[in-house]
Amino acid sequence: MAFSNDDLKLVERFKAGDRRALARLITLLDNHPDSRDLLERLAPPAPGGAVIGITGAPGVGKSTLLGGLIAGLRRRNHRVAVLAVDPESPITGGALLGDRLRMARVAAADEDIFIRSLSSRGVAGGLSASVHAISQLLLRFGYDRVLVETIGVGQAEMAVLRVAEVVVLMVMPGTGDEVQWEKAGLIEVAHLIVINKADHPGVERLEQELIDALSAGQESRVPPILRTVASRDEGVDAVIDNLEEIVSRRPGLNWLQMRTEILQEAEMLLGRRLRELADQDESLDDLARAVALGQRDIYGATEETLRRLLPRLDSQDRPAVRSVTRQ
């Protein structure tokens, strides 16, 4: 897309290491999927960076563990960014974001920690794409461990986890959530399972249930299962050891898969652009009415619409609402 001068100034500040510019560009990426090619203007991230997804039911202690992970990763000289994804209200679109408090205190005095909350709003182009682009931005800024936190329910949240190269599933004894993860397929996505609040009764039973469930699957792949008491920072170092180990072993990117992803992204952007054009296109309304009255058939109308709109796809006219900032 075409970027405004303001946007380009932000890019320059970003390159100079300005965190406020980073924060602004995250907002841009989150609000405007078609701005994602911005990443191309930035140097590719240094090798060795990783995006790590952390998921689990509310109350399992995600934020507390994240606090421990942040501190531990910092001790190992990683620069750490956190993307905390919270659901938006389906009614108003507003959102109460972040439980920053447990993480923020670790982060207060350390510029090498960056925490950002996102709402899982229904942005065109999808939450997971948004999270992916923002993760890439953070990696390019020099944060080499990007932790993505999300509750493990819902389609959008599951998709977010696919953005991560390593997925940590958090569970705790005594909640009976096991069935839920199995249904969600989460348990099979996880590279690492952490049983938090391991000082509570029922740990052995939970661990056995996990192993049974995993062994029953077709691939019979049982990832490491670790125990933590995140509130006392117990077991957190072992989680980091395992994470680092998994990161170091991960395979390189597969070009065929990249081909698929490029097409997916292109499809999404095309669809979005098409809808924007359609919003300003009165003949589409007329066509729709004609189809509704039985005067035209839907296939002919579709073909005609495509013929009319396709040539305009690449033009620079933008919807009015964006003219405030775009040139």
Binding site: P58, G67, L101
Partner: protein, 551 residues
């Protein structure tokens, strides 16, 4: 509202059937907690109601009408006004003044750093030292606070929670140094950490070890300080955080039950510690709802203590309580109107049968109260006691169709909440799941929405808000903080720091081994370890509670 319709109740046609809802003014006929109320209550509302099982005589099971046989005809409630001033010396002066005037009970408010278990020199304490109460960092401050006051004679109430065992240890060591035997030491600790998790947020450790500390303290006092009131189980703050009356009732009682269960699990006989538990309620602005709440609380507590926890001593069944008028009902606008609010709230606590009462000063929302405002607040109680005649008759509203019905309804609502807590896996699990915080936030949000929509009103704010008047307020002195910091630095240089380190290690060891923490806390107190140091040592073992927004 469905409750306006009088259905086919038993017996003769109730008079309410003649009520025509279409002729009612446009208003939301519910209590402050949004509990629906009927236009009229009649014998039909108490159809299956049995006097003996629901009320009984005052001083008899289930104690609905009051815990004493004679109630206020025997002895009026205690008029206890809570106070705290910047430094230990200032408060000490105030204490001596009050004792000279014949008062025997002292009440201490601590500043925020003390309440949160950090020292005055902690970075987070900046701007807070000595502001909302007295700053106590170590035994040295406690010695100044009670200098020249015989701790074998006075009774002291201390509003402290997370670091309660440390402050009690300070108090006991001062007594020890005065030569006052612990068996004579008398007073009350708030020491109710669960309501902090639900509402007031002055928490340091995760829920489980926090409760363990309380059980340690109860166990210790049962053996060594038998006259001390170990926990003041508090609904006050739950209500201030925006709960409904039923939530205040249910959550507070559930907290009490949890402490009782944990003590029994520790191996204590219920009748040895239960008589030293007391309660602290809010007296809010919905008059009858509050009265019903006090009455329902006594009945539930007595029943559960007897039947669920097997108490045999009648004193274990008594819900003794303190009440305070609702700080959150006061307004900054037209502050003199607060005097009127407080009077009605105080009256509801008295009609509810409270054992002691604090009336808020009209300027509480503006600053620390001025002397004039405190005096009016106290006079309010005295007018109720001496002029209104309400203290002449025991439980004068007993038998009112409305009050009895509302008492029953609140009781039933409380049991619904008990059931929900059980379903969540008990108290600690429910705290962990954010159940209480979410329930309270919901209720508080609902009320604010009703206010915004004009369905509930606050005089002088949302309605009749045309005139404004103001009252003089008390300025706060920043000098206190500087002086306290100097003292703490001086103490840390003067004491034997090797002994302090050893005592703190010992405290860690005991906590790790799951032993009773009171003895090592007393030992650390004697070598002048600070509140922050001891809390830090415990944090090393228990971990820190880092909150949760709990929407």
């Amino acid at each position: 509202m469905s409750t306006k319709v009088q259905g086919d109740r038993q017996g003769a046609e109730p008079p309410a059937a003649r009520h025509d809802p279409t002729r009612e003014r446009d208003a939301r006929f519910t209590t402050l907690s949004d509990h629906p109320v009927q236009p009229l209550y009649t014998p039909a509302d108490l159809a299956d109601w049995d006097y003996q099982s629901k009320l009984g005589s005052p001083g008899e099971y289930p104690f609905t009408r009051g815990i004493h046989q004679t109630m206020y005809r025997g002895r009026l409630w205690t008029m206890r006004q809570f106070a705290g001033f910047g430094t230990a010396e200032d408060t000490n002066q105030r204490f001596k003044f009050l004792l000279d005037k014949g008062q025997t009970g002292l009440s201490t408010a601590f500043d925020l750093p003390t309440l949160m278990g950090v020292d005055s020199d902690h970075p987070m304490s900046a701007g807070e030292v000595g502001r909302c109460g007295v700053a106590v960092d170590s035994l040295a401050d406690m010695e100044r606070l009670f200098d020249g006051i015989d701790l074998g004679e006075v009774s002291t109430s201390m509003t402290i929670n997370a670091p309660a065992s440390i402050l009690l240890a300070f108090y006991l060591v001062v007594a020890e140094k005065q030569g006052a035997p612990w068996t004579r030491v008398n007073g009350t600790l708030q020491n109710d950490i669960l309501k902090e998790f639900h509402a007031q947020n002055e928490v340091v450790f995760p829920p489980e070890p926090s409760v363990r500390l309380i059980v340690d303290l109860i166990e210790f006092c049962t053996k060594h300080v038998p006259k001390y009131n170990t926990v003041s189980i508090s609904g006050y703050h739950i209500r201030e955080a925006g709960s409904t009356a039923a939530q205040e009732l249910a959550f507070t009682l559930a907290d009490g039950f949890h402490y009782v269960e944990q003590c029994i699990q520790r191996g204590l006989d219920v009748d040895t510690f239960a008589p030293r538990l007391s309660f602290f309620w809010n007296a809010h602005s919905d008059f009858f709802e509050e009265i019903a709440k006090f009455r329902a609380a006594r009945r539930i507590w007595a029943r559960e203590m007897r039947h669920r926890y097997g108490a045999r001593n009648d004193r274990s069944l008594l819900l003794r309580c303190h009440a305070q008028t609702a700080g959150c009902s006061l307004t900054e606008q037209q502050p003199m109107v607060n005097i009127v609010r407080t009077a009605f709230e105080a009256l509801s606590a008295v009609l509810g049968g409270t054992q002691s009462l604090h009336t808020n000063s009209m300027d509480e929302t503006l600053s620390l109260p001025t002397e004039n405002a405190v005096t009016i607040a106290l006079r309010t109680q005295q007018v109720i006691a001496c002029e209104t005649g309400v203290a002449n008759v025991i439980d004068p509203l007993g038998g009112s169709y409305f009050v009895e019905k509302l008492t029953d309804e609140l009781e039933a609502e409380a049991y619904e909440y008990f059931k929900k807590i059980d379903e969540l896996g008990g108290m600690i699990a429910a705290v962990g799941a954010g159940f209480f915080r979410r329930q309270i936030a919901e209720a508080s949000y609902r009320l604010s929405q009703q206010m915004e929509a004009g369905q509930k009103h606050i005089v002088g704010v949302s309605i009749f808000n045309d005139d404004t008047h103001s009252i003089p307020t008390l300025a706060i002195d920043h000098e206190v903080e500087r002086r306290q910091l100097g003292r703490l630095a001086e103490l840390k240089g003067r004491r034997d720091n090797a002994k302090v380190a050893a005592a703190l290690d010992d405290l860690r060891r005991t906590a790790r081994a799951g032993g009773n923490t009171m003895e090592p806390i007393l030992a650390a107190t004697r070598v002048y370890a600070t509140v922050g140091e001891m809390m830090g040592a415990l944090k090393d073992v228990y971990g820190a509670f880092e909150g949760g927004t709990g929407w």
